[in-house]
């Protein structure tokens, strides 16, 4: 039986109006699928359009043209509140700078998406505690984010992302604010989640070493997808794809 892709982008374009007048296109006909259980890295240099691509995948922004199907459902033209519901049900976010609520303890932070889903309190508590145990922070549930290390904060963010039992984890430069040791720990944890629990992960990064933790890389350069395939042996393959796109 043919599997439904979790993410299906068809000829996605994104154009931003400029304040000085005119407009700038940042994505050109981006087309790719992400199947359930994949660990995909979207890679590209700064300004390549990978963050814009992530915002569209994360239902934080809408494409100017093209079709975006999330788990078989066309969400291209949904209204902001409908997109909020989609984010809550289907997507778990892990951000570069954690984005935890600083004045709430970590248990409250992990429970937050479940509150917006309208789950009863006892269910929220048990689910959040389960996730904190999964990330090894069950003894810190009353701590404030400011009392934790960077790596611990990111693990809280992962617990929050997993709490809603999403179809997809979307990680935007998840190791960007961490030292290399902590960063490796987080990436290993992602790998474990993907391998052992079969969670689909899409990770945005500009570093090849980080992208190499994934099973597949989509390379974006100047808004165009220049490479989409398994992780190459070295970065030069990706750089060559950039040069080829540049010549075109």
């Amino acid at each position: 039986m043919k599997q439904t892709p979790i993410i299906s982008l068809k000829k996605i374009c994104k154009v931003f109006p400029l304040e000085i007048g005119g407009q700038q296109q940042v994505l050109f006909d981006n087309t790719f699928n992400v199947m359930p259980g994949e660990f995909v890295a979207i890679m590209g240099p700064s300004g390549s359009g990978k963050s814009t691509c992530m915002n569209i995948i994360g239902a934080l922004d809408s494409a100017t043209s093209g079709v975006y199907e999330l788990y078989g459902k066309d969400i291209t033209t949904l209204l902001p509140d409908e997109l909020a519901k989609i984010r809550n049900e289907y997507i778990g976010f892990v951000f570069q700078n954690f984005n935890l609520l600083p004045k709430r303890n970590i248990l409250d932070n992990v429970m937050l998406p479940l509150m917006y889903r309208g789950l009863p309190m006892d269910e929220r508590l048990s689910r959040a505690r389960e996730m904190l145990k999964l990330v090894g922070l069950e003894k810190f549930e009353t701590y404030l984010p400011t009392q934790l290390s960077g790596g611990m904060k990111q693990r809280v963010a992962i617990a929050r992302a997993l709490a809603g039992n999403p179809k997809l984890i979307l990680a935007d430069e998840p190791t960007g604010a961490l030292d290399s040791k902590m960063g490796n720990e987080i990436l290993k944890f992602f790998k474990k989640l993907n391998k052992e629990l079969g969670i689909t992960i899409v990770m945005i990064t500009h570093e090849f070493e980080i992208a190499s933790y994934a099973n597949r890389v989509i390379h974006i350069y100047d808004g165009h997808i220049t490479y989409d395939g398994p992780i190459p042996k070295n970065e030069s393959v990706l750089l060559k794809s950039e040069q080829r796109a540049h010549k075109k």
Binding site: A84, F93, N99, P113, Y116
Partner: protein
């Protein structure tokens, strides 16, 4: 989100900025407290006036001598009323009782104590006109008037100030060297805030004029007070009195009245209207402070939205809908306003009742409507102050909000 979630989230946000929240709440506390106190002041003044008039009764009419006009100019008090006028007015069909009244200050002496009070010379009808009841002894009768008897009826406060026995009937007091025998003590009416009817000496008008004041015009009268029967019409009675007095004073058509008639019902209605406007004015002034308080809430909420832009972005990213964000910010501003209103209400009621009872010794009326108004104002002020910041928060773009530093 459940109601508990909304309140919990609001409380956490408010308590997260204690000093700022406290100062914002304080603005509403002062506003509501001012409104409650001003309402209490207005109602107290109104109550006081109503008490004063109800002790007299609205079917009371006062006639003052003088006030004749000459070429459009009031010529002031003239002794135009006489004891005979009182007699004829008493015979009018609507008049239940009438009495002349002559007021005077009095330094009264009893034993080695003395007390400065007011004295009034009257007819027996005064008891009916002023609704006077006796605690001890009797009131003045007509024979005391005819004989200019040296009798006095005193108020309970006067008796107390002079250190008289509990039942002072038969005791002698002296006013300007005139010995007066106390024949009765009136029942306490209670202080009505402005003047006390419990501290006065009532004597026959003839005694006051002839024996105490040594008046050269013993037949003239300064003022006549009269009480109408309950079913009498004040306007008709006033017309009858005017006609009678004009005939008796031989005034021609076109001549101005040489007396002034004051209908207490009209006076009370006028006073009530005036105090009603006064109360409204006081409330309007107090409402300005409430308005300032509500601007304080709006300001705080706008600052809060700016400060929490990133938080709003996070909430939206993980699934908060626009309506949820609006509800959260509105509930925060309503909660602030509600807390302020409740404290303002408690302080306002406490202050007005406390000052009234323990300092002014007056029962300040307590009405339920400041409570209803406070709660309504809390919700309205909270909603109005919070709606703009809440919409602003809800409309924030989650991508921009997440990037906000």
């Amino acid at each position: 989100m459940t109601f508990y979630d909304i309140m919990h989230e609001s409380w956490l946000s408010i308590s997260g900025n204690k000093m700022r929240s406290f100062l914002t709440v304080l603005g509403i506390v002062i506003g509501i407290m001012a409104v409650v106190v001003m309402v209490a002041v207005g109602e107290t003044v109104q109550q006081s006036i109503t008490d004063q008039f109800s002790s007299l009764g609205t079917n009371t009419i006062m006639i003052r001598a003088g006030a004749a006009q000459s070429a459009g100019v009031r010529t002031g008090n003239r002794m135009t009323l006489t004891m005979d006028d009182v007699k004829y007015i008493s015979q009018l069909p609507d008049v239940a009782a009438a009495t002349p009244m002559e007021n005077s200050g009095a330094q009264v002496v009893y034993g080695n104590k003395n007390w400065s009070t007011s004295m009034v010379g009257v007819y027996p009808g005064y008891a009916t006109v002023q609704n006077i009841e006796m605690e001890y002894g009797t009131f003045l009768d007509m024979s005391a008037i005819r004989n200019a008897a040296t009798y006095a009826v005193i108020g309970p406060e006067t008796a107390e100030e002079l250190g008289m026995p509990k039942n002072p009937v038969g005791e002698i007091i002296r006013v300007r060297n005139t010995p007066l025998t106390v024949i009765g003590v009136t029942k306490a009416k209670g202080s009505s805030g402005m003047s006390s009817q419990d501290d006065m000496i009532i004597v026959p008008i003839t005694t006051l004029k002839k024996r105490i004041n040594g008046s050269r015009f013993p037949n003239s009268v300064n003022m006549i007070a009269l009480k109408l029967y309950q079913d009498a019409d004040n306007n008709i009675a006033t017309e009858q009195i005017t006609t009678l007095l004009r005939q008796r004073h031989k005034l021609k058509d076109g001549d101005a009245d040489d007396f002034q008639i004051t209908d207490m019902k009209q006076v009370m209605e006028t006073m009530e209207t005036v105090t009603g406007y006064l109360t409204l004015l006081l409330i309007a002034i107090a409402a300005v402070s409430l308005l300032v308080g509500s601007i304080g809430i709006m300001n705080m909420m706008l600052v809060s939205v700016a400060e929490r832009t990133r938080e709003i972005g996070i909430r939206k990213a993980i699934g908060a809908q626009e309506s949820t964000i609006i509800t959260q910010f509105l509930s925060e501003s309503i909660l602030i306003s509600f807390i302020g209103s409740m404290f303002g209400l408690i302080l306002g009621v406490g202050l007005s009742q406390g000052v009234g009872r323990f300092i002014l010794h007056y029962n300040v009326p307590f009405s339920i409507w400041p409570v209803v108004v406070s709660i309504s104002v809390a919700v309205v002020v909270g909603l109005v102050s919070g709606v703009m910041p809440a919409i602003k928060a809800a409309k924030l773009n989650p991508i921009d909000s997440l990037r906000y530093e």
